[in-house]
């Protein structure tokens, strides 16, 4: 999605303020605001050819070949026929062109899909169905339930009371809980009266388009009066309308100006590090080529001066050549043409093909296919494969990526008894698996069928009417801010602000305490089949300081009770002293729960005295209407009543991780990959997940928490952390500090440092904002990279991208970002590799990702198997490719010294044309598509095998130089063995042997057999296809050679095939074959010896692992170990109520209640949403 807004941005000055008037297109048109079309495609039908060719020729290699082609057309220089360059060049351009065209076609399709979504627009007093792309700034549009918001809208009115509108922002920020937006009262009056809406002519002035999701300022001028606008009244593109029958909105920002698009960042064309290295190498090769040509040109000058001048008797100088130096100059270019094959154009094509092939393997992998959602893995970008084998940093989103965003009521402790574990006859705890018998809730008709619980004793307790147990569940069914929804009798759906609350209420529902309906004053609960209506007297709502919430209710019998639930640390202080012994038991249980990574919560109650409550209630009323210090007064009152509570027990909720997350993280950690979690969640939740998925654990030496609220605080915290991890890192003598002094200012790369232990770092979004500022960046990178795990919480989408950018900037490492929501898009686009979790509702992340699959655990297979293979294959390919072309081309160089530096080629021109294209392309492709050093099972079992990729060991400049040297050595052999074998000798029938054509044939046959043997040596996994390619290529070589050298071809195309008869006459000679055999021996044996000795004398760590595997293979493979990670944490997490203030005030005010409801006598929330049905709540 690269060209957003570019067109507009260039045309006019940067917009400073936006001004628009509702229902007045003419007025709005003068500002040339972008309409709601989005364009991610690059070309159209007519611009494709010129633009695409222009882009392709921007590649150094393609431009170079064009240049070569031009050179070849100059007759004095042309040393090779034109077809040697044109054929490959056209082929390359065509292949890339077709690929680009297909990609762009798909982008067109997806743009078209989005742009053509229907929406109702108010035009001339009528609601008309329009396409999204035709929506203009200033239009009024109508959205219905479950619609995607079309553009950034100002909410005008809605079907709900007080013009509330519920939206889900998962696409934007990843939070799945509902948010409420409310329109201005003046606009809310418009209702759905089309007449009034058409007459509405409010004028909006607001800030220019920007990417701040949580901020909006503007004013609405209506009938001369000004109203302030803020984010609470905005519906942003990317959100989904929920629980709201309809709403009207005024388009403020459209298309590329919307906050979603502004946040999506620009796609930069991603290139792999090997791409970049290849570009450098190509330049190096050019330089090398230039040097060789220069040497040969000088040689030619000298030769022409010393010999050629006198040889003019038989060979006069070419026309226009009057001096040896001019001849040398021309020869320089002739040699450029001949030696150009060191940078073969087919390199790029082959690289693309290999990547494409390896991408297909990802699509085809049945082990990355998720049957539940029928989602296979998908390689959406096919040019980044080998980079998957080099990942060093993973940036992961939390919700939906690590976790399923499903909360489960897992365990509880009631009155000192712990429930939730399953025990066998002998009292041993058994693991809960899919086969464990679930508790049967059929006695309860209102039970949620998806709720699963395994401990039967709890049901027994409920059935036996155990008083504390009943009270416990009554509390859970009363003390919350959940909204019920009952579309059909008996099918209840809860709308919870936080999934935790939903889980608790659902648990109570299943055990027979069904929360059925609420009004501002009452709560209807069906207790064990008996409907009871409680009077709701007060909600003492949750906030971050209180960390608890209470309700005060009056039972039908008239008893006043306060029910309270909250974090244990807080609630324990408020308990009545009579609970001390129970407290101890409960604490034990709490520790147990926390140890399993569950989120815990303590529940307590208190019976209230009527008189006291009336007094309190009066004061409460006064306080809540106070004009000054309302908050303080209220919290004082709350504290007053929430004390001397009676402990009931504790609940434990599991924030369900995706399958296999802890194991995956453990494996990735073994592969030396660092994992950073970037989440929009609050700190407690994030850390809790950190513990439960084994990122953080109690074995760590320390977990630093950075939460400073000024730049200075953050700096101090970061420095203190670093001081602890590496005390000497502040000394001037520290290597890295010294290195910094030396290195230039703008390109600082922080080398890896070693900490003195295992540490974790948690940083909040607020502090992160400071830390990402200029001077703190470096501190952050150095501190964070010392830690094994970094968790950033409360971060915005943009900050996610900034963090990734930061690591990219200061670390020479490959980064991968993985996420599922629209809030991860920027991060996914920024990282070297972006992975989207597919199969969820939002597709934004997947659409902008490079790879996608359904489950986080597939990441290990993607990296350790596919990534590793792709990387190894690519490296092997490059090594071999450079080798074969050096060996091929440098023979010309040596021949130059024996042919008067006249740019005479050693081989037949056809051989030169076909060498890269036909004779040697398939075997190396076969290797790069099929090779495996160890199979997938072993590479998962030994994650250490991944490390060489991270360190870039298999292909780098040193390796390249080695290939080059090997190529030079081979070319020497390939020239001098045939030379020696032919020099001053004759055939066995006495005829001369050393003619040019025989020599050419012998040299090219030698070369081809040598490089074929070499590929055989490099191939470690010989499938049928490899065999076929290698033997096939050799046979094809001989077949083509004999055909081209045949009588018929000569008689038809005399000028093109002058080598007639050479193959027949030469290949029958014994010493030709002896020379070929000797060349093979001399080229290949040293390589065999060297490789073997290197593995023996200086084994790399992965050599050792391979050896281990080899030994292990002799024994039957071990069954893949079934590890169950026991979490040993004793840390307890508080309860994630919600990110914001609770809904309490809203409920009490009754503003969100509607008078009518189909089933319950009292109001329900809203009948429309079916969203949570999927989620099993």
């Amino acid at each position: 999605m690269s060209l957003f807004g570019l067109k507009f941005g260039k045309k006019k000055l940067k917009e400073e303020e936006r001004q628009l008037q509702a229902n007045n297109r003419d007025f709005n048109l003068q500002f040339e605001y972008a309409n709601n079309t989005i364009k991610t495609s690059k070309y159209n039908f007519f611009t494709f050819l010129p633009l695409n060719l222009f882009e392709q020729f921007q590649r150094i290699a393609n431009a170079y070949f064009l240049f070569l082609l031009i050179l070849q057309l100059i007759p004095q220089i042309s040393s090779l026929a034109w077809f040697t360059t044109v054929v490959p060049l056209v082929l390359v351009l065509a292949v890339s062109g077709v690929k680009d065209a297909i990609d762009d076609f798909n982008r067109h399709k997806s743009d078209k899909h989005v742009n053509n979504r229907p929406v109702q627009v108010l035009i001339n007093g009528m609601l008309k169905d329009e396409k999204w792309m035709n929506v203009q700034v200033g239009d009024i549009i109508k959205l219905e339930n479950n619609n995607f918001v079309t553009a950034d809208l100002l909410l005008l009115s809605s079907s709900e009371p007080h013009s509330l509108t519920y939206i889900e922002t998962a696409e934007l920020d990843g939070e799945t809980n509902l948010k409420v937006k409310q329109a201005l009262t003046v606009t809310a009056e418009l209702g759905e009266d089309l007449q009034k809406l058409t007459e509405f002519n409010g004028e909006v002035r607001c800030e220019a388009p920007n990417n701040k999701l949580d901020k909006f300022t503007g004013t609405l001028t209506l009938r001369g009066e000004k109203y302030a606008l803020d984010n609470e009244k905005m519906l942003l593109r990317g959100c989904t309308i929920r629980n709201t029958e309809w709403c009207f909105g005024l388009v403020i920002y459209a298309g590329p100006d919307t906050k979603l698009m502004q946040n999506s960042g620009k796609t930069t064309f991603k290139r792999t590090s090997i791409d970049r290295l290849m570009n450098v190498l190509v330049l190096v090769i050019f330089a090398f080529l230039g040097l060789m040509c220069l040497i040969l040109a000088i040689g030619n000058g000298i030769w022409e001066y010393n010999k050629g001048y006198y040889f003019q008797v038989y060979l006069p100088w070419a026309e226009g050549v009057d001096s040896a130096s001019y001849s040398g100059f021309l020869m320089f270019w002739s040699y450029v043409i001949i030696l150009n094959t060191v940078v073969p154009i087919s390199l790029y094509v082959s690289v693309e093909i290999i990547r494409l092939g390896n991408s297909f393997y990802i699509n085809w992998d049945s082990k990355m296919y998720y049957p539940l959602s029928d989602t296979p893995a998908q390689a959406r970008t096919t040019t980044l494969n080998e980079e998957l084998g080099q990942i060093k940093y993973i940036f992961s989103d939390k919700t939906g990526t690590l976790t399923q965003n499903i909360m489960c009521f897992n365990k509880c402790s009631i009155n000192g008894k712990s429930y939730g574990d399953v025990h066998d006859m002998s009292g041993q705890r058994i693991e809960i698996t899919e086969n464990t018998e679930k508790v049967d809730f059929s006695y309860n008709q209102l039970a949620d069928p998806k709720f699963a619980f395994y401990d039967h004793s709890l049901v027994e307790a409920v059935k036996l009417s155990d008083v504390p147990t009943h009270r416990f569940f009554r509390l859970l069914s009363l003390c919350h801010t959940v909204m019920p929804e009952e579309k059909k009798e008996g099918s209840l759906v809860y709308q919870a602000q936080s999934p935790d609350e939903g889980a608790l209420v659902t648990a109570a529902r299943n055990f027979g305490f069904v929360f059925r309906a609420r009004t501002p004053e009452t709560i209807t609960v069906v207790e064990m089949g008996e409907t009871k209506i409680y009077k709701l007297l007060a909600i003492l709502d949750f906030n971050n300081v209180r960390k608890r919430m209470s309700v005060i209710v009056q039972s039908p019998e008239g008893d006043l009770t306060l029910y309270c639930k909250g974090a244990d640390t807080i609630l324990y202080e408020l308990l009545h002293s009579s609970c001390d012994s129970l407290k101890e038991e409960t604490t034990e249980h709490l520790n147990e729960f926390a140890g399993e990574g569950l989120r815990t919560l303590v529940v307590a109650y208190k019976n209230l005295d009527k008189d006291y409550f009336q007094d309190w209630s009066k004061r409460h009323h006064e306080a809540s209407t106070a004009l000054e210090g309302r908050e303080d007064k209220l919290s004082e009152l709350y504290e007053e009543i929430e004390k001397d509570l009676m402990l009931l027990g504790a609940t434990a909720i599991e924030d369900k991780l995706q399958d296999g997350v802890p194991q995956t993280i453990e494996t990735l950690a073994k592969a030396n990959i660092k994992i950073w979690v970037l989440t929009g969640d609050k700190q407690e939740t994030a850390m809790n997940i950190g513990y439960s998925c084994n990122l953080l654990n109690d074995d760590m030496d320390d977990v630093f928490i950075i939460e400073g609220s000024t730049s200075g605080d953050v700096l101090n915290e970061l420095r203190n952390a670093r001081k602890k991890m590496k005390p000497d890192s502040f000394l001037d003598s520290d290597e890295i500090n010294i290195q910094f002094e030396k290195s230039s200012k703008n390109s600082k790369v922080v080398p890896d440092e070693q900490a003195n232990g295992v540490y974790g770092l948690v940083i909040t979004g607020h502090s992160l904002a400071y830390a990402l500022e200029g001077n703190l960046e470096l501190e952050l990178v150095r501190t964070a990279c010392l830690c094994k795990v970094v968790i950033c919480c409360r971060v915005t989408p943009l900050q996610k991208a900034q963090v990734v950018e930061l690591v990219k900037k200061y670390k020479k490492a490959v980064t991968l970002a993985i996420g599922d929501g629209a809030n991860d898009v920027s991060m996914i686009k920024t990282a070297h590799i972006g992975v989207g979790i597919s199969g969820q509702e939002g597709m934004q992340a997947v659409l902008s990702s490079d790879f996608s699959f359904a489950q986080f655990r597939y990441l290990q297979r993607l990296l350790l198997v596919h990534g590793r293979w792709s990387y190894i294959r690519m490296c092997k390919f490059l090594k071999y490719f450079f080798y074969k072309n050096f060996a091929f081309t440098l023979v010309h160089f040596w021949y130059g010294f024996f042919s008067g530096f006249s740019a005479q080629t050693v081989y037949d021109e056809w051989f030169i044309t076909l060498y890269n294209l036909v004779y040697t392309s398939l075997p190396v492709l076969g290797m790069s598509l099929f090779d495996q050093d160890v199979d997938d099972r072993w590479s998962m079992l030994f994650p250490q095998l991944y490390v060489p990729g991270q360190q870039n060991l298999y292909f780098n400049k040193v390796v390249f130089v080695k290939c080059m040297l090997q190529g030079i050595y081979s070319s020497l052999i390939l020239f001098f063995i045939p030379f020696g074998a032919m020099y001053n000798t004759m055939r066995s029938d006495g005829k001369a042997i050393a003619d040019y054509q025989s020599f050419a044939l012998m040299a090219q046959t030698c070369l081809l057999i040598v490089v074929s043997v070499q590929i055989g040596l490099d191939t470690s996994y010989w499938t049928v296809v490899n065999q076929f390619f290698i033997w096939g290529s050799l046979s094809v070589y001989f077949a083509i050679t004999f055909t081209m050298y045949s009588d018929g071809m000569y008689l038809i195309f005399t000028a093109s095939f002058p080598f007639i008869g050479t193959a027949r006459n030469t290949l029958g000679q014994p010493n030709v074959w002896l020379a070929i055999f000797l060349s093979i021996t001399l080229c290949v044996l040293p390589v065999v010896g060297f490789r073997f000795l290197k593995a023996q004398l200086r084994p790399t760590p992965s050599d050792k692992v391979l050896l281990k595997i080899k030994e292990a293979k002799k024994r039957p493979p071990p069954p893949s170990p079934k590890r169950r990670l026991r979490r040993t944490s004793t840390r307890r997490s508080g309860y994630a109520f919600s990110h914001q203030h609770g809904f309490g005030a809203l409920i009490m005010s009754g503003r969100n209640m509607r008078p009518k409801s189909p089933f319950a006598t009292t109001g329900t929330f809203s009948p429309n949403s079916d969203k949570y049905k999927h989620k099993g709540l």
Partner: protein
């Protein structure tokens, strides 16, 4: 951007599962041979190759040594002629030169006579391309368009036949061999045909179709350096005249290097030469036409026998012996290193 994926999975029930095929190819589980460099394979490779190379090398050296070869540099011995030829104005003056040599032993078997040139860059790019294959096929072509430059036509437009630098520079010394026996001189019978490749003689070269050779080359002229036109190359043998003359064909097959030898004649094994050349005194009778001194070239005349591996060049034999020795030695070194390492390993293993 595939739209399929944007449908929620529930809708997918109607169309088939998107589960990838479980084929060995797609799952990268094709059966394969997985060779490894093990000690056994490496050592056997080295020792076997070493043994093979050594034996082949010895055979090659032995057979190369059995080749009898006499090589005489006559550009030096015929210095007078060579000086005469330096001046191009003497091109039509004949110059003869006699080179004597003695055979101490008989040369048995087929004896081949070569002329050798040194420092003659037949492999120069512009030289190599300077010919017209179509013309040599006997086709009527416009050689102005061929790559024969600068030897295409004379100023008056008469095309050269054959055209091009290669043809123009054809070696035109004539060498005869005389056997001096008992003060009588016998000319050794030499065969001048059958020296070129069959494909060249029968496919690549054809005279233009005409009732006789000389008329076939009407309206063409000899190349400037030639003393006689192409249809007079061999007046005795119609099948060896014109473009299909063996000496011409051999010359046109340009050499890969600046030093080369071309087959000139074969000794005809008749009469006293039925077993080869008997020991005794011989004389080369050379008609010296081809100037080489100008570009510091050298001319040789060579008499040689051949064996299965060709001529007397010992290069391959030596190279094989050396390679074989090195391979075998490396094999021993690897064995030694391995033994040492194994000791170390057992020492370190607890």
């Amino acid at each position: 951007m595939k739209n399929k994926t944007s449908f929620p999975p529930q809708e997918g029930e109607t169309h088939p599962s998107r589960c990838p095929d479980n084929s060995a190819f797609k799952q990268q589980k094709l059966p394969a041979w997985k060779p490894h460099l093990t000690l056994a394979t490496v050592l056997s490779t080295f020792f076997l190759t070493g043994a093979f190379c050594l034996s082949v090398g010895v055979c090659l050296i032995l057979s190369a040594n059995s080749v009898r070869e006499i090589q005489i540099d006559y550009s030096e011995k015929c210095s007078d002629c060579s000086k005469l030829r330096e001046n191009t104005s003497n091109w039509n003056k004949e110059c003869h030169c006699f080179v004597n040599f003695t055979l101490k032993e008989d040369i048995l078997g087929d004896v081949f006579m070569y002329y050798g040139l040194k420092n003659f860059y037949q492999n120069h790019r512009r030289y190599v391309v300077s010919r017209s294959d179509a013309q040599l096929l006997g086709r009527n072509v416009n050689i102005q368009k061929s790559s024969c430059a600068p030897f295409t036509t004379y100023q008056n437009g008469t095309p050269m036949a054959p055209c091009g630098a290669i043809a123009n520079s054809m070696f035109n010394d004539t060498i005869d061999l005389f056997y001096n026996i008992n003060s009588s001189v016998i000319q050794v019978p030499l065969l001048k045909t059958g020296n070129s490749w069959w494909t060249d003689k029968n496919v690549k070269f054809h005279n233009p179709k005409s009732y006789n050779v000389s008329s076939a080359f009407a309206e063409t002229a000899r190349p400037p350096y030639w003393q006689k036109p192409v249809y007079l190359l061999d007046e005795e043998d119609e099948k060896n005249n014109g473009y299909v003359n063996d000496d011409f064909i051999i010359w046109m097959r340009v050499s890969a290097f600046a030093t080369f030898r071309n087959l000139y004649r074969r000794v005809s094994r008749v009469r006293q030469f039925a077993d080869g050349l008997p020991a005794g005194n011989y004389t080369f009778h050379i008609s010296y036409n081809f100037p080489v001194s100008k570009f510091k070239g050298r001319k040789h005349v060579i008499l040689s026998t051949v064996v299965w591996s060709g001529g007397s060049n010992p290069f391959l034999g030596i190279a094989y012996v050396v390679s074989g020795t090195v391979a075998a030695l490396t094999g021993f070194v690897i064995t030694a290193i391995h033994l040492k390492l194994r000791k170390k390993k057992t020492y370190f293993q607890k």
